[in-house]
Amino acid sequence: MRQVSTPLVATRARRDVATVRQDFPVLSGTANGRPLVYLDNAATSQKPRAVIESLVRFYQTENANIHRGVHELSQRATLAYEAARAKLQRFLNAGDPHEVIFVRGATEAINLVASSFGRIRFRPGDEVVVSAMEHHSNLVPWQIACEIAGARLRVIPMSDAGELDLDALRDMLGDRTRLVAVVHVSNSLGTINPVTEIVRMAHDAGAPVLVDGAQAAPHMPIDVQELDADFYALSGHKMFGPTGIGVLYGKAKLLEAMPPYQGGGEMIRSVTFEKTTYAPLPAKFEAGTPHIAGAIGLGAAVDYLRGLSWEWIQHHEHDLLEYATEQLRFVPGLRIVGTAARKAAVISFVLEGVHAHDIGTILDQSGIAIRTGHHCTQPVMDRLGIPATARASFAFYNTREEVDALVRGVQEVRAVFG
């Protein structure tokens, strides 16, 4: 079970957005000569000073390769890297630090499972289930794995509001189902999927589940044991950590049965030309020199999040979501895309007669950063019959004033286009 934070930590937790913003140097900057309004958090989050400084400190005082040197510096680097693993274990409430594999990001985490698990488990006629709202990174690796194995990809449909059809999933699951891969929080619609229920249903059918948690980790506490997820994928840069680092959580029993994803240094026990035996977890899946500084920086991000309170984060982000949803409704011709009952603070929208790209350019002139396009979820756009959306995605450091700026910006778009 998740550790209950002590009252001391709870009272120390910061619950004030003005104070929290001071932890993020970039937020006091400008864009196009205007104060930056950063609403592109689903693409990547900003970094608190603690994370930036952890990278500098590592390179200035501890930089060495890990697991190799007899020298002091290498030992310090190894300790820091493994301490970061322990922090991520705690963050996910994984049962064992060996179940935490450092990878490049959610994309690599998913490719690792698709390639390695797919190789031993997918056979002709087997089925792999994904949902209609997957990011391309939780779709294309499964298409590739299915093609190699001659397996079939099934898709859980969704409603116009952006909610998955679990009855359809129930009908889909069967003794051919080898794996279910589903996004926890949709990056383009904001939907929070009922992953606990999906995991239960898949397990009843004997299928393991990979949860793409790239967009969940910045918004809510995650407990992989409570979810009973078999695999869970994270991207460090979306949860206030550095780019180039992420995590694959996997249940030890599954990871142990899987063949290596890449071969090289670090991941072996012994090598001869005749036979190579592999290292135990997690080294088996961490071939080559990893992003040591990145892992340490991600550990610092997780520490930073522990200094906040999830209760405050969720309350504040919910307020931003409600406020923005309400305010944007006043803009003539604006329609919000993705209206699930349970949503993270992500608002995709379309504006009648104006392409998303033009919205993005006009907002940018006011220093407002949003994302426009298909958000790497082309099937979602096709399903909803739209070419693209404009998307404002929030983090706990955003404010109601920034929502006001967004609304003013969209009204200016209306004024330009008439």
Partner: protein
């Protein structure tokens, strides 16, 4: 700060709202499709070319205001022109949109196309404006393939997405 009205001039908004030559040509002897995967701009261009003269031109498509207005303005500009004249227009247009904020504009050569001069202040939008022209180039070259702004090299080095 650059003025948005320079990018979204009335001529541009008008051509976006009511594109000229927005039709398929049943008798087209050259067609090409262009896409901009980054933002989903898409156009299909139809040409009737006789003895090196663009006798008729039409397009269909969807996308941002810049790409659609550029396509509309282009079709109006190249109708009746020879291939060589169309190529010269392409070069003048390309020079304008990639010339940087203070680049020269050959208004005499460009005519109405100069309405898109604001694009030079918005480097990320250059490929939107150029898409129809790359597509025209492809159609005239006659390979009939799909043009993608992610593949052609001619927007470099002014195209920041490629840096």
């Amino acid at each position: 700060m650059v003025d948005l009205r320079e990018l979204y001039q009335q001529v541009v908004l008008d051509h976006n709202r009511s594109p000229r030559n927005f039709k398929q040509l049943p008798n087209a002897n050259r067609t090409a499709e262009g896409t901009n995967p980054l933002c989903g701009d898409q156009i299909t261009l139809y040409l009737v070319v006789t003895n090196d003269v663009i006798e008729d031109v039409g397009f269909q498509g969807a996308g941002c205001a810049i790409s659609q207005a550029s396509a509309s303005l282009m079709t109006a500009a190249v109708k009746g022109k020879t291939k060589t004249e169309a190529d010269a227009l392409f070069h003048a247009f390309h020079a304008m949109v990639t010339g940087g904020p203070n680049g020269a504009i050959d208004e005499k050569a460009l005519g109405k196309l100069a309405a898109l001069s604001g694009v030079r202040q918005f480097p990320v939008r250059v490929k939107c404006a150029n898409l129809p022209w790359h597509t025209l180039h492809e159609a005239l070259a006659g390979s009939g393939d799909t043009v993608s702004t992610e593949e052609g090299g001619s927007d470099t080095p002014d195209d920041p997405d490629r840096r």
